[in-house]
Symmetry: C2
Subunit: 218 residues, 2 copies
């Protein structure tokens, strides 16, 4: 497990850079999934369970992006998966140039790579990282009003994973309200309610990842 200090990419061509990175990764057989969420939504816990459940069925590596610390990369590394921690030089998002720098430090990656973007519901939605799929995570304790307050991220995501479903009885969180609000912003989005603790819904989420990965190199 490495820690890489990134420098902010200064470029007005992020969309082109992202397009080029996406093509290049496809040619190398890498399928990049950009995971975005608020801090504390359970991204690393979801990934940990996904890696364990899919062991032997898919080769998974993880790039952890944070302002500071390497606790998440340590957790992933402890599972035996390749992981790299990148520090974003104070930036609240990853862009295509930064993603490219992080990937350069992952020699062993060969298959599915998850980019765990900086915990933030605003800035990451504005920058194409070069990923093949954008997945957003919303946890039950955050509340069902989030699609109203952060519409861009819900609009830009291919799938929404609703985590910590086991905590539903303790919070005012109406999943039908969330689904209605999200589909209004993004009718094509796929929604996966899960609990990485109890395993509820994990199979549907993992099948989605596997089938997208298979489609990508069919």
């Amino acid at each position: 497990m490495k820690v890489i200090e990134l420098k902010m990419t200064v470029t007005d061509s992020n969309d082109r850079d992202a397009e080029a990175l996406r093509r290049e990764l496809s040619e190398r057989g890498i399928f990049l999934i950009n995971l975005m969420s608020a801090p504390g939504s359970g991204k690393t816990t979801l990934l940990s369970r996904t890696i364990t459940d899919l062991a032997g069925r898919a080769d998974i590596a993880v790039m952890e992006a944070d302002i500071a610390s390497d606790v998440d990369a340590q957790r992933i590394s402890a599972l035996g998966a390749e992981s790299v921690q990148v520090h974003t030089d104070g930036m609240c998002h990853m862009d295509a140039g930064m993603t490219r720098m992080g990937l350069a430090g992952m020699e062993g990656a060969n298959g599915i790579v998850f980019l765990e973007n900086v915990g933030n519901l605003i800035c990451p939605a504005e920058f194409d990282t070069g990923a093949h799929k954008n997945v957003m995570i919303l946890s039950v304790p955050e509340g069902d009003d989030k699609p109203l307050k952060y519409p861009l991220m819900f609009s830009r995501s291919d799938a929404l994973v609703i985590t910590k479903m086991d905590a539903s009885p303790y919070f005012d969180f109406d999943i039908e309200t969330v689904e209605r609000r999200v589909k209004k912003l993004n009718p094509d989005i796929l929604i996966f309610p899960v609990s990485a603790k109890t395993g509820e819904g994990m199979e549907a989420w993992e099948s989605y990842i596997l089938s997208e990965w298979e489609k990508s190199h069919a």
Copy 2:
């Protein structure tokens, strides 16, 4: 309840602007508290209970800052407190100039004003809003590793409110670990564990607000 569309302040003098705003507010008898947290940490729920509990003892108004929607300002307004919703033109934080614009729309504010900053643990920590106190909120479901990942905000805050304490039994959240990690970054910070649902800890938090407000115009 109003909605104000702000434009990003373009200035390299935010620190000076913030200092000037703080002095001006003190002269007008306004005590401004900047509340910062991740999305979904329960800022509005904490404020709603605080406003209800302190009714008759303090004059409280609220400025809600978001990218979109006015759901939070509606909730505060329903309690009979003055509230204004500001939209940050896509920006992930408030600065002193934006705070000044928002305050200009709150003619009735006269006492304690809470600025509910944009839900984000990164950018708001970097910009002085002109507030007299900076208060950070961390909710139990977000996890006890947050001081490691977002050190700047914990370092810049005068007080930390730990919300959703009633949910502690359902999450891996060790409050002593959090306290140790936070005090290492910021030995002078005051920590208030609360549950706005059960009322646990609310009195200590509310006494702090009242005593700071009294000190400010002693």
